[in-house]
């Protein structure tokens, strides 16, 4: 029998079925549409969370200022350590022997002695610093210029700076060279600049270790500060969270704007910390350049490199996201609709 096409007699029941399929098709079927909706939602969460921070400037600035100063402290210590490390690296390469000559040695005798020492195969160069040169240098950098002018006679000795070949690699060679040059009659006092370099090196090592510990402590502090900020934000928006839960929001949907808030707080604090460090460096530049003169221009202030800047921003943003995530994980579980 041929099936007869009939108008449905019970449209009341048929309609919702049609509704339901349409819903499934749009909400779950078309992958590209869904992907676009997902991307739109993320973009919306990203910018609306920034908008919320801007909408409450006082609270945001207070939080971000605390974080920025903390991060600037930690990264500032880091910058200090890399600068001192650079300084000691320079010093290591110039493990020179300083020979302070007796007062009655003339410039000619000193030049002869320098010539002698130069013949030694383990010596790279010998530099003669005359009494006058030493005095000028001392006047320029010590700050005692006026006092020295009062002296009748130059108290400074002639100094020979002996720079050995392969400075630190062979300590024994250095020792034997030291013993050889120490025995010259003209030499009053000889000194290897290595011991204090080694000491300085271990001090820097301690400082580096301390900076790491300090940064970890600050990082933990930041986790708590951001976590608490997010907790307060969650509390303020409790109604919204409840309603979203009641209309079927998953925890990840509810979390998203808060995670972005954490990201923004961390990121903006990182950027601010960079600027704080940069300002500190600008203030420090002049005194350091003056100091650099003492080391014959070998010392240059170094700041965070491009990679280190990116790392700073990534770490501070990550701290924001991680602490928000941890707080939300605990808090959302306890937030039940009423």
């Amino acid at each position: 029998m041929k099936p007869v096409k009939r108008k449905p007699t019970r449209p009341i029941v048929k309609k919702p079925v049609k509704h339901d399929t349409r819903q499934t098709r749009t909400a779950g079927g078309n992958f590209v549409d869904k992907l676009h909706a997902y991307r739109d939602h993320h973009a919306h969460a990203l910018f609306s969370s920034l908008g919320r921070l801007v909408a409450t400037p006082f609270t945001s600035i207070m939080t971000i200022a605390v974080l920025a100063i903390s991060i600037a402290l930690a990264s500032g210590f880091y910058i200090m350590v890399i600068n001192v490390q650079q300084l000691t690296a320079n010093l290591e390469s110039s493990n020179q022997i300083s020979l302070f000559l007796k007062d009655d040695v003339t410039d000619e005798e000193a030049a002869d002695l320098a010539g002698n020492i130069r013949k030694n195969p383990s010596v790279q160069t010998v530099k003669v610093i005359s009494k006058e040169q030493a005095l000028t240098e001392f006047k320029t950098y010590s700050g005692f210029g006026a006092a020295i002018n009062l002296l009748e006679k130059n108290p400074l000795p002639i100094v020979l700076q002996v720079l050995p070949k392969n400075a630190l690699q062979d300590k024994q060679e250095l020792d034997s060279l030291f013993k050889t040059v120490e025995k010259f009659d003209e030499v009053d006092y000889a000194q290897i600049d290595m011991q204090w370099v080694e000491r300085l090196h271990s001090i820097v090592e301690v400082a580096r270790c301390a900076t790491t510990l300090f940064s970890v402590m600050i990082g933990i502090g930041i986790l708590f500060i951001i976590g608490n900020t997010i907790r307060l934000e969650l509390h303020n928006r409790r109604d919204e969270v409840m309603i979203a839960k009641l209309v079927g929001a998953t925890n990840s949907f509810i979390q998203r704007p808060f995670l972005y808030t954490g990201f923004w707080i961390g990121f903006i604090s990182g950027v601010s910390a960079w600027f704080i460090d940069a300002i500190l460096m600008l203030i420090l530049r002049q005194p350091v350049e003056k100091l650099s003169g003492l080391y014959e221009g070998e010392l240059h202030l170094i700041f965070l490199s491009f990679t280190e800047t990116i790392e700073l921003l990534i770490i501070s943003s990550l701290l924001g996201v991680i602490s928000s995530w941890a707080v939300l994980l605990v808090q959302l579980r306890h937030t039940r609709p009423e």
Partner: protein
């Protein structure tokens, strides 16, 4: 559609709030849930929304058992229901449009589809010109209709209303009830908790009466 099978709910502090409640709502049926205050109406609604779990018995939505649904599955289950509240539960800092769009955004609808559906939904409740207003700028009846628009925008097969006319005058209440009947006509199941006896008696629908946690006929 919605089936209660010997459901009991006991709170440690107050004892049994619901006792052996059984009923079955068919698809496209309207029912009133009534009873004196403290009879267990709110608890029953909370069980449907799985805000609470029943102590004994089973609740089924379609063929899905609500008593054992996992926490992770809850959001997807709640998308099959539209809830309407006496206090509207609208977001004060969002426009009417954004309030109604919330369930769609949550379900992952695209921008254009959201716009289309929200407008259709607001048209249905007669608020099409007020999308950009904030809830506080609307009257109580209008806010309730925004709540209704939000409940139905996702086209859920079940609508649950908790005292939807509690704050409204009789004329507005009647209007709201007419809306529910329109939803019923397209096959939506509607459960309305109310103690407005005169309103209930005006309308010829099934009545579930709770008395001290038990269903009386």
């Amino acid at each position: 559609m919605l089936k209660f099978d010997n459901v009991s709910k006991r709170y440690p502090e107050t004892g049994d709030v619901l006792h052996n409640v059984s009923f079955h709502l068919q698809q496209g049926e309207i029912a009133f849930l009534t009873g004196h205050s403290g009879a267990g109406k709110t608890t029953l609604l909370k069980l449907i929304a799985v805000m609470e779990r029943c102590t004994r018995g089973e609740i089924f939505l379609d063929s899905q058992c609500l008593s054992h649904v996992k926490e992770r599955q809850l959001p997807f289950l709640r998308r099959k229901m539209g809830f309407i509240y006496q206090d509207y539960k609208l977001l004060a800092d969002r426009t009417v449009f954004d309030n109604v769009a919330l369930p769609l955004a949550i379900a992952g609808f695209g921008h254009l589809e959201i716009k289309r559906r929200v407008r259709a939904s607001l048209d249905k409740v007669g608020l099409l010109g007020k999308e950009r207003k904030f809830p506080q700028a609307l009257s109580g009846g209008e806010q309730q209709r925004v709540g209704i628009a939000r409940a139905v925008v996702n086209k859920p097969p079940l609508i649950v209303a908790d005292e939807p006319t509690g704050n409204l005058d009789p004329e507005l209440s009647a209007e709201i009830m007419l809306l529910f009947e329109q939803f019923q006509q397209v096959g939506v199941t509607v459960l309305i908790a109310s103690h407005d006896i005169s309103l209930i008696s005006q309308m010829n629908h099934r009545v579930l009466k709770l008395d001290h946690g038990q269903l009386v006929l």
